[in-house]
Symmetry: C2
Subunit: 224 residues, 2 copies
DNA sequence: CTACTAACGTGTATTTTTTACGCTTTTTTG
DNA sequence: CAAAAAAGCGTAAAAAATACACGTTAGTAG
């Protein structure tokens, strides 16, 4: 290998995904414990090296399936991380994604995740992570907040039926703000994204809440 | 090299920048003619391979300086392109940036660019480009339209003094829309980004226009 | 069984932002 | 010097965001 080659060669691509959920009003992120060097034993976001025969999105999804057992998930690219020293082994550039899993699926996944050495961490209780994953997580969270304000990712949070108070609590958990119940309702309904199921069910409160579901096709729209 | 290595090895990173300007109401992009295989003789966006000893932003700026002679430019990362077949030589993932150069600097750069085999192309008269650069350019233009609506990149378009009608024409050229002169003025002035120089100068019209300049420090703000 | 409370749902008033557009001023042109 | 073109100033209407009052439905205490 000649001198010029050293400038270019031995580079690689990471595909990294920050997977979020909201349980009981707490925003949580999925972390995996590393089983190899470097960063053996450290918690990191789901991800790994991209293969040559797959595109970025496929690679990110394959890594999620391999590392956590999660097969079906919509993910969204949001950034690239390329500091020279972000990996101690060789020059790696990370392409970063976010994804969301609804809290009901979290229950189902619990055993799968346990055997994968994966666990949910409240976002304000995340330990120091391997690589530059703390930095990536901070950006991922900002992106999640942006994305929740555009409609599509919202649907992943509630694939089934839900009430508006439930939906609002998830919004408030992710955005870290409180909103007016009546204005929230008005806003969401005016978007024409969800429909009344005709059913009601109680969630926390005393008066049962109407149950809604997302309509089949959702146009990409600004919410707030 | 064993079988598993083939999955990961021989990967590289491109840093690509779409550099735009606006001249006489026409949005233009800077293209460079390739001097080597692959895509010898084709026009492409400014860019090249990332070195191991530089981060992404530095790499993109180095490539701009090498390929076009442009030394000072603010650029903004906006996406990643990683199709398996985007480069015929080896697996390359491209990190993409946009940048803007004001029309006055375009005049100064003309000779430099000529010797670099670089030239400005109106965005609706771009030839088929090498690699996947047509695709990158389309995304870059969308991003430019988004960015012009957030204040910071706006300043790169007019580093000196300018009139509001001039500024509006650039907006209209990039966004491809017409706006009301009086509302545009109101909007821009309310942002508190620019200040009156006290001078006037005629641009196209009959009545001379007031000259403005951007204030020193500009907060990141939504414009529209 | 009744009264009280907590949470849900509906409606309306107010404020702020956006959009539309009339009118005056300054310069060029015939 | 009158007409036309472009800049600038101001106000009115429409739309969106925000604030908040009030009625409804269940659980709970006595």
């Amino acid at each position: 290998m000649n001198v010029k080659d050293k400038l270019y060669k031995n580079q690689g691509i990471h595909v990294i995904t920050a997977i979020f959920t909201v349980e009981q009003g707490i925003t949580k992120v999925l972390l995996v414990k590393r089983k190899n060097e470097p960063f053996l034993g450290d918690w990191i976001l789901t991800g790994g090296a991209l293969y040559n025969n797959e595109d970025l999105l496929s690679g990110a999804k394959r890594e999620i399936a391999e590392k956590t057992g999660i097969k079906e998930i919509d993910i969204y690219q949001f950034g690239v991380f390329g500091s020279v020293a972000r990996s101690p082994v060789m020059r790696m550039v990370a392409v970063a994604y976010i994804g969301v899993i609804d809290s009901k699926r979290v229950q189902v996944l619990r055993e799968t995740l346990r055997t994968s050495n994966a666990d949910w961490f409240p976002i304000d209780r995340v330990p120091p992570l391997g690589y530059d994953h703390n930095e990536i997580l901070i950006e991922a969270l900002k992106e999640l907040q942006k994305k929740i304000i555009s409609s599509t990712i919202l649907k992943s949070l509630f694939p089934g039926i839900f009430s508006l108070p439930e939906l609002q609590k998830v919004y408030e958990a992710i955005l870290g703000t409180k909103m007016d119940r009546r204005n929230f309702r008005k806003k969401i309904l005016s978007l024409d994204l969800i429909e009344d199921t005709g059913e009601t069910a109680k969630f926390e409160g005393k008066k049962p809440a109407k149950q809604y579901r997302f309509k089949k096709k959702i146009a990409e729209k600004k919410v707030f």
